[in-house]
Amino acid sequence: MSSSFENKFRASATKLTADLRHRALIRTSLKGYEKNRDEKRAGFQSWELARQAAAETKWEAVNHLDKYLSEFVDNLDRRGSKVFWASTAEDARNYILNLAREKQARTIVKSKTMTSEEIHLNEALAGAGYEVVESDLGEYIVQLRGEVPYHLVFPAMHLTRKEISHLFHEKLGTPETNNPEELTMIARRQMRMKYCQADLGISGANFAVAETGMISITENEGNARLTTSLPRIHVALLGIEKVLPKLSDLALFLPMLAIAGTGQQLTCYNSLMGGPRQPGEADGPEEFHVVLLDNRRTQLLADAEQRDALHCIRCGACLNVCPIFRNVGGQTYGTTYQGPIGSVITPHLRGLEDWKHLSSASSLCGACSEICPVKIELHHHLLHNRRNAAKLEVGRLDRMASGAFAFLVNHPKIFATAAKLGRFFEPLHRIITGSKIDPLLAWTRSREVPVIAKKSFRQYWKSRQK
């Protein structure tokens, strides 16, 4: 049986793969990225050894997560930060909601955080009557459209400047323009007002440094710096898997994240925050809260076979190279995390039964595993998910079909009879192929039916013996 998520996926995928305009837009917008990424990778003395080292660093962190997480939190405590451990999405939402209430926040600015998408934080805050503004340009655009991000790193890459201009015109009353710079300045002006009003800033984190108790945020626009500097309270929301053991590990991870993510040597701003304003500092938030989210990550951690999926640094490189992503588009997945990594982890985070279909939406070409800067064996994990899905009850029909096939090929006489029947019906089937009454329509809609040989191998062998 197929879940409603699967049906939605199929419907959207069918529509978008036939949308040539969409495919061309994605192809062109990734062209510059591909060139820059490859150039910058070539600038490394050994990108391959750097990948290996990054993978080993993440292995060390994730396989000693209890130790490093405790170190991270103890260091935060020492410097007057407040840490909240959230087992579930609900725990995390409630903590942030209560904080907003307690501190009487009115305006909330957010910098890009996929983890907040995962726990549906915006909906919860808006439902409680708070104004929440996404400050990253791409996130702001999809927020105005009432959509979910299209891509982990490039949330609005499916939109043309024309569509964005229409959107701004409609929602903000600004004049239409074809100039990306003018469009960016419209968002800049809107956001400046918000920054100065906001009393609560919410961010994510790319890394958490255990050794020093700092979070690290990678960005280009400066919106994360403003979000975490101006409001009097800063809340950072991050998954427990973000930990790195040492500060100096960033010397490797910051450039690798930038190169894999956007094709830059380093992104514009890489900021480390380790607490509220310290004595002697001119400004900064009065309070710094860190919300550590489990939300079934420990279940994935318990699966030693797929544990390395928690090594992911959310660079989005596997999306960019994935032939499925490039054709069906990010929103088709219906998940917080799109592309190959999303297909691998979503069944763990949200249930295999509803999300197993994602692992079948793959050509198993392995481009994702090859590009991954932390060497996650993504396409192997897609196969692991398929195997695990086959073990579920819901695969009964598939199991019956393969049982019937096994029976058939194990009984030569019945097999020969079946082949004869097939040869008899073949010309009749040709008449109805592709029409509504075709019983093989699911196959013939997009594929040719293989022709059955005139003679079976047995018959052929016999005729040779004479």
Partner: protein, 230 residues
């Protein structure tokens, strides 16, 4: 049981079985890794000081950071006066430091000092934020600032133009050196914010077309002064 104990408990339980180690080769043992092992993989940087200055300048060119190597403080003042006229500056935001106190008064504009705790709105009205930094990084063209070295957090990100003044001895070859410096300078008392600034603020969120000045400064200017003769 506290939430912390609960989650740590679940992690410990989950880690009972070891996961396979990544890859087929071995880069180095994690514990034994140092800056010099990292340097075998990261992009090369010239060994000599002159070469590093050139590498920094080349990176600035690519990033659209304006970079000026100057011979003394009066050169900085001249250049700032020029910028004041072309960009029509009316208000400067900065912080106190001997070298800034030597330069700023000759520009002849009102100055906000972050030590006086101006409001966000006041800093937002400034045309330029002028700061010192902790280091420059040749490998990436980055400028390393902290809440302590550069007058807090807002000063280097809120005004539309950020000007940085650095000494030649502050130029470091690469990222591992930058993290070593942070550890040496701050030890166990880190500033609440550390930022690597690599070019002026930018976005590519509209059709992946590069636009400068998304939310942070549209312009970034770096001055490199020779070291003080003591």
């Amino acid at each position: 049981m506290s939430q912390r104990e609960e989650i740590i408990g679940r992690i410990k339980e989950a880690l009972r079985f070891e996961a396979h180690r990544p890859g087929h080769t071995h880069a180095s043992s994690y514990e034994a890794r140092t800056s010099s092992t990292l340097r075998e993989w990261l992009p090369t940087v010239p060994r000599d000081h002159q070469g590093q200055i050139e590498a920094f300048a080349r990176n600035c060119g690519e990033l659209r950071t304006r970079f000026f190597r100057v011979s003394d403080v009066s050169d900085v003042t001249d250049k700032l006066l020029e910028l004041k006229n072309t960009e029509d500056w009316k208000l400067i935001a900065s912080h106190h430091a001997p070298i800034l106190d030597a330069i700023l008064p000759s520009i002849g504009l009102p100055i906000l000092f972050t030590e006086d705790r101006p409001t966000t709105q006041e800093i937002e009205r400034a045309d330029v934020g002028i700061t010192l930094c902790d280091a420059l990084i040749a490998q990436t063209g980055s400028i390393l600032v902290t809440a302590r070295s550069a007058g807090g957090r807002a000063l280097s990100v809120l005004p539309p133009h950020h000007v940085v003044i650095a000494r030649e001895s502050q130029l470091l070859p690469d990222l591992p050196a930058a993290f070593e410096l942070l550890q040496k300078t701050y030890g166990n008392d880190y500033p609440s914010l550390i930022t690597f600034i690599t070019g002026p603020s930018r976005t590519g969120d509209i059709e992946r077309i590069l636009v400068l000045g998304a939310h942070g400064p549209r312009s970034l200017t770096a001055f490199l002064l020779p070291d003080e003769i003591s």
